[in-house]
């Protein structure tokens, strides 16, 4: 079964608004990563947050991690039409050598 569960499954907002996506997971982790996928393409790494970190920023991206609740959120500020894509969280599971991906959030930014 998938480790990560993203919420919502789909999100549609206006350009300029902020987009927030959530991810929950089940087991202990080394880190949690967020990836982006444009339709029909490979995934591109966005940001990695380690299990001992609570918040991380990269440009317009802000990621939080709450290991007590086993959850993470990805915030994209001042969204642009080019942000339209699917976003996946992936957990680097403690004791394993693999990433386990969630089902993803399909984000649509309307111009």
């Amino acid at each position: 079964s998938q480790q990560g569960e993203e919420d919502p499954q789909a999100l549609s907002i206006q350009e300029g608004e902020n987009a927030t996506m959530n991810c929950s997971y089940k087991t202990s982790i080394n880190n949690l990563q967020w990836y982006r996928q444009n339709s029909g393409r490979g995934l591109v790494h966005l940001i990695l947050i380690r299990s001992n970190e609570r918040e991380k920023h990269s440009g317009r991206l802000r990621v939080t991690l709450d290991t007590s609740k086993k959850s993470s959120s990805l915030l994209i500020t001042a969204s642009r039409a080019a942000d339209t894509a699917s976003y996946f969280c992936a957990t680097d599971v403690l004791g394993a050598q693999k990433l386990v991906f969630g089902q993803g959030t399909r984000l649509t930014i309307n111009p």
């Binding site: 998938q2 990560g4 029909g40 490979g42 790494h45 990695l48 050598q97 693999k98 991906f101 399909r106």
Partner: protein, 111 residues
């Protein structure tokens, strides 16, 4: 710089035919290698991963197999394709706890 090549980009194969998808990595040595499959509109399912030549871990019992004949080459195979093998296949590499770098994917349609 490191690059990952995956081919072919699209493939249409009849049921019962064999399959061979190849993935090669350049610019690094001893990478961890991964094969994922993605059903339409869904998350990524880990199929196989390899931490070294000849070392293959299978995540899901199925009609597929993987091999790593060289350090930077990862091959996904099947002797007889099933309709359910259709999907988007993604190869990726990483080192230790680093983020993954994905190939551009192969869209396989079994008819």
């Amino acid at each position: 710089s490191q690059t990952i090549h995956q081919w072919p980009a699209t493939l249409v194969q009849p049921v019962g035919s064999p399959l061979s998808l190849e993935c090669t990595v350049e610019g690094t040595s001893n990478p961890n290698l991964y094969w994922y499959r993605q059903a339409a509109g869904r998350g990524l399912q880990l199929l196989f991963y390899s931490v070294g030549i000849g070392q293959i871990s299978s995540e899901v019992p199925q009609n597929l197999s993987a091999s790593r004949p060289q350090d930077r080459q990862f091959i996904l195979s099947s002797k007889k394709l099933l309709l359910s093998d259709s999907g988007f296949y993604l190869c990726a590499w990483s080192h230790a706890r680093d983020p993954y770098t994905f190939g551009s994917g192969t869209r396989l349609t079994v008819v």
